[in-house]
């Protein structure tokens, strides 16, 4: 795509990545036509624009007489395709904002005129201030708070998922500055995408660093050639991958069906993948998968239909597991009858599934979702699934756990054979979640190429002070409201299983509590656990100042005292790479596209503004311009020996030829399957642990995560089953998935997707409500009709939504995606925007598992009566009088003081 190319109606053509995960990969590359300073169109990049197909050494999978090859153009998802609306959204923050009744001259805890009025966060509006005033205010508060309490009083919330950028990453730009000031407290992200696998499955099969089955090399060639049955267990290949890596999953699913593999979907909803790919849908009640797993194990043990030879050589503790399943341990055999009552699947279907799995060569498919993720006690189903795979010869041909996203995997494994002759690594300029006390490059998890490029090493050298204190993201509210607190594990994001046996406390010895928050990840309200309590925590007078830097005035921004406007990726220079779409790897130059919207600055330059006020600009920037950094990013990218800077600057992208060696990688855990002695797992015994030896040693009496995986009906942490007494008030299990039309909290304001029937439901009042799915029987029992305004609620709060009455959901369930923007009527109590996470459980997954619980909890749904709505309008007029754009939803103008 030579620089001389221009699109119709445009005067310039540039490339941008479209991924929204934040770190590492830029996502599918897009061609952007710019005319008269505006984005005219955004299209997928065709790889052959500047190159010939033969240069790519295109990969293929051959199986059953058919061949799969990747398309020769990027295949982005719908949010990428509509991103122009995101850039020009009416909800863009266009200039620095200050909360009207936050007066920084007020003493901590002060209220009224001249006070800090922290209690009004979420209610009070904003006024425009200058960049100079904003930067001075942030700098002054940093000096004051740090000077008063010590550097750890400043809390950095800087982890995933924003636009995937490198030179000015969406997350962590403030961290080096805070480090230069002496340190900070880091928000450590809990393992939100694989909670169950990390806290559970790792104790079965190791599989560091995540806990999902690994290595993942060549899984799909092997599956295509050998597997017969695919169990999509809580997996939606037509949703979760879209905004991260695009839509290779869609093509792969169609192809696997075409070559004759059967796809069975186990999930409460007919998710978007099941809707078009399923040969069989087994609707299960949310978060009851462990019961179904146990009944399958019971069937296999009873009928002798598991791989006994494999278990004899590959398993540890199998007898204890057998004792539990058969009822010797607790007197309750885990029969299909027992399970059916819990999981809502008919007994005969459970038996049929167990036999189908035993009879056919089966792989389990996930998409960073599924039973092992975010429900109460999700360590248990994640462990059980690993055990079931083990009982059928895990690692033998066609017998794997595989994923429908993250095609690059974690440590250089590629489930599709698309890895290039080099695997590029464009650096990220700042670090998101530097582990506590991590002073060295290695500990900070810096990429491996750093040693070879002195200038890059210098640029990326960690700032002097590592954080000395952390708060797990899922415990921030508790840390603020009820310190001291303690928890297990989570010193770093991605850490080995044995780290789970270390207990941490907050405040850490010698460290202050936090009194100031600087966030570039303002989405906890709509993405994290018990966020109504989180809202109340951030209203605490203890938190004297909250600074948010973000592109859009949404979610946690509405609790901030200062909001700093940030550019999108279209308004800044960058270097990009696509190493994860699963098609072909590429590196691309992201040159000047459009001018910043309003007074926005890149995340990096936002911090520079503050650094200037602190006299630290030179130390922070290391004296490099954006253009110089772009060149350095190329120099360290891994393709610098394959194409010159001049050539890539002209063509703007480079496609990396596929490595023929890809096909030689052993698939999955095949080496372990072949010889566990020479290729052991990373578990303490090296074997598949049906009773965890580590848990036997450290937590032998934990009733919520015992050494042998159990069905946990209830426990001290959670009471969220249909057997609970709470069901007399809250009889439905709430499921909350990855949203189809957003990337978590990203993209809720896109007018074009908001017209899609499953994105928003326009209520009789014209407000676009987040859909609440109900089966027709559940709707009828409550007098609810399609399009009604409904409330979904439990003890923790109430959220309004629009009724979506559908056969795509089984009974017993209410389903609402997370990520809708918070639009408080009563902050911490009642939300109109659809932020379902305000109702999610407070406690972590279980007492030794520091994961969050944001799906599979009890609620009730009711129609909102006209009287009820009229009452809210009367009692909270300011919430209803806020300017609301009928197409965009919550908008900047609604929060500006007129």
């Amino acid at each position: 795509m030579a620089k001389s190319r221009v699109g119709i109606g445009a005067d310039k053509q540039v490339i941008r990545g479209s991924g929204l995960m934040g770190p590492r990969d830029s996502g599918p590359p897009m061609v952007v036509d710019v005319g008269e300073g505006k984005i005219k169109r955004i299209r997928p990049l065709a790889y052959e624009t500047e190159y010939d197909k033969k240069d790519f050494n295109v990969w293929k999978i051959e199986a059953r007489g058919k061949t799969l090859t990747p398309p020769l153009h990027a295949i982005p998802g719908p949010l990428a395709q509509s991103y122009k609306k995101r850039v020009y959204s009416k909800n863009r923050v266009r200039y620095p904002l200050k909360r009207v009744d936050w007066d920084p001259s007020g003493a901590p805890g002060s209220t009224g005129p001249g006070g800090r009025n922290t209690q009004n966060r979420g209610t009070s509006k904003y006024v425009r201030i200058s960049w100079d005033e904003a930067a001075e205010l942030v700098a002054a508060e940093l000096r004051r708070v740090g000077g008063t309490y010590g550097p750890e009083a400043v809390f950095s919330q800087a982890d995933m998922h924003g636009e995937s950028k490198h030179l000015s990453p969406s997350h962590g730009c403030m961290n080096p500055l805070l480090s230069l000031l002496g340190g900070y407290t880091v928000q450590m992200r809990n393992f939100d995408s694989w909670e169950g696998q990390t806290w559970g499955a790792k104790h079965v099969w190791g599989c560091e660093p995540v806990g999902e089955m690994a290595p993942t090399s060549n899984l799909y060639p092997d599956i295509a050639q050998h597997a017969e049955l695919l169990l999509f267990w809580g997996c939606d290949p037509e949703t979760t991958p879209y905004p991260i890596q695009g839509m290779m999953s869609s093509r792969l699913c169609y192809w696997l069906s075409e070559i004759g593999l059967k796809s069975v979907y186990v999930c409460p909803d007919l998710n978007y993948g099941a809707a078009v790919h399923a040969d069989k849908w087994i609707p299960i009640l949310p978060n009851t998968d462990a019961a179904l797993h146990l009944a399958i194990a019971y069937m296999w043990l009873t009928e002798g239909t598991y791989d006994k030879d494999y278990i004899a050589t590959h398993a540890y503790g199998f007898e204890k597991f057998e004792d539990y399943v058969m009822g010797k341990e607790d007197g309750v055999p885990k029969t299909p009858e027992w399970a059916s009552e819990k999981c809502g699947v008919p007994e005969w279907t459970i038996k049929a599934l167990a036999r189908d799995w035993a009879n056919k060569i089966t792989s389990l498919i996930h998409g960073n979702a599924g039973p092992g993720i975010r429900g109460p006690y999700s360590s248990e189903p994640a462990r059980l699934e690993a055990m079931l795979l083990g009982m059928q010869g895990l690692g033998k041909p066609g017998r794997h756990q595989a994923k429908m996203l993250e095609w690059w995997s974690w440590v250089g494994w590629f489930p599709l054979p698309f890895k290039g002759i080099v695997s590029p690594s464009v650096f990220m300029l700042t670090e998101q979640v530097r582990p506590v006390g991590a002073h060295t490059v290695e500990e900070g998890m810096r990429p491996s190429y750093m040693g070879t490029h002195p200038e890059v090493v210098e640029l990326l050298k960690p700032a002097p002070y590592a954080p000395l204190q952390l708060i797990p993201r899922c415990l921030v509210h508790e840390a603020i409201l009820d310190p001291p607190i303690s928890w297990w594990g989570l010193r770093a994001f991605l850490e080995p299983a044995h780290e789970q046996f270390t207990q941490y406390t907050y405040p850490a010895p010698g460290c202050s509590e936090i009194h100031m928050i600087w966030t570039d990840s303002p989405c906890s309200i709509t993405c994290w656990n018990d966020s109504n309590t989180y809202i109340r925590a951030l209203q605490s007078p203890k938190i004297e100042c909250i600074v948010a830097q973000h592109q859009w005035l949404e979610n946690d921004c509405l609790l901030a005292d200062l909001v700093l406007p940030v550019t999108t990726r279209f308004e800044m220079l960058d270097m990009g790479m696509d190493t994860g779409s699963g098609l072909l790897m590429s590196v691309f130059v992201e040159d000047e596209c459009i001018d910043p919207v309003g007074e926005s600055l890149s995340d990096f330059d936002v911090v520079v503004k503050v650094a200037e006020k602190l006299g630290l600009a030179e130390a922070y920037t290391k004296g490099k311009t954006h253009e110089e950094k772009q060149k350095l990013a190329f120099d360290g990218s891994g393709v610098e020996d394959l194409i010159t800077w001049e050539e890539i600057k002209d063509k703007q992208y480079y496609v990396i030829p596929v490595d023929d060696g890809n096909y030689e990688q052993p698939p999955g855990l095949s080496r372990f399957a072949e010889d566990p002695a020479s290729s052991p797992l990373s578990t303490p015994t090296g074997l598949l642990e049906f009773s965890s030896s580590a848990l036997e040693e450290h937590f032998p009496d934990d009733s919520e995560r015992p050494p042998v995986a159990h069905w946990i009906e209830k426990g001290e942490s959670h009471d969220e089953r249909l057997s609970s007494e709470r069901t007399k008030d809250y009889p439905l299990l709430c499921m909350s998935n990855h949203p189809r039309w957003r990337m978590h909290a990203q993209g809720d304001d896109v007018t074009w997707t908001r017209e899609i029937p499953t994105m928003k439901i326009t209520g009789p009042d014209g407000y676009q409500y987040e859909p609440v799915w109900l089966n027709p029987a559940e709707a009828e029992a409550r007098g609810i009709q399609q399009g009604d305004i409904v409330k979904i609620f439990n003890e923790r709060g109430t959220v309004l939504g629009g009724a979506f009455v559908t056969e795509r959901l089984r009974s017993g369930v209410a389903y609402m995606d997370h990520g809708a923007r918070w639009d408080p009527i009563i902050p911490g109590v009642l939300d109109r925007g659809g932020a379902i996470n305000t109702l999610t459980p407070h406690n972590v997954m279980s007492k030794h598992c520091t994961g969050m619980v944001v799906s599979g909890f009890l609620v009730e749904v009711a129609k909102v009566t006209d009287e009820e709505m009229a009452g809210w309008r009367r009692d909270y007029p300011e919430a209803f009088q806020r300017d609301y754009d009928l197409a965009t939803g919550v908008s900047l103008s609604g929060w500006l003081e007129q």
Partner: protein, 270 residues
Amino acid sequence: MAKTFVIDVGKCCGCYNCQLACKDEHVDNDWTPYAKPQPDTGQFWMKIQENVCGTVPKVRMHYIPLLCQHCENAPCIPACKDGAIVRRDDGLVLIDPEKCTGCKDCMTACPYGVIYFNDELNLAQKCTGCAHLLDNGYKMPRCVEACPTDAIMFGEEEELADQIAGATVLQPEAGAKPRVYYRNVPGRFISGTVYDPVEKEVIIGAVCLLTSANHAVETFTDTYGDFWFKDLPAGKYDVTIKAEGFEGKYFSALDTAKDVNLGDIPLTKE
């Protein structure tokens, strides 16, 4: 020679990329004389229609991407008193935004409901096939380019002959000779699960016979006890289920105006 769309419904995953790419091209962009800008919301020159078929747990979905059918006998053309609608030599049907007077007669005449009205501009608007791009060297309209699964194909009729074979058109009875072909549009289904209520087991291999006035199909229950009769025309059907050792079951006059899920069907032992 005529530009033709072929849409394989069996490969449409409902991602809406086509609908969104259309908006990306036409909203806020003025391609006069081909088209004036599309309003931000409310118009869908390419529109995904969602179809949810059946009841829990026998539910399937399909999506129909609906756009101007660029008909050979386009009823909108004679309906337009102002001569604003023309069928180009390449087969694309365009509304000239300079000539349209906003009378809406074309909207009434169109059997497919794919012409929209722009109140602000007093103008009828619809899909142009991205003629402004095709006339300037682009190979395909934006919706085709954006389709991740190649479900939407575009080209000369002859080039697409293999795909057109066996495809259908929407409302052929309207006589408009549309140039948009659809493949793999599913018909109705009748389905159920057969089981033994005493043993609490599915019954595999039960013989299921579907009959109607001019239709007789036999199938067997699968490993889940499921049977499916797919792609049925609307009509009345009888279903007989037989399994060795069990009393048979008979369902009469099942109406496939909607898809039919007979649920979990218990068979009594003889």
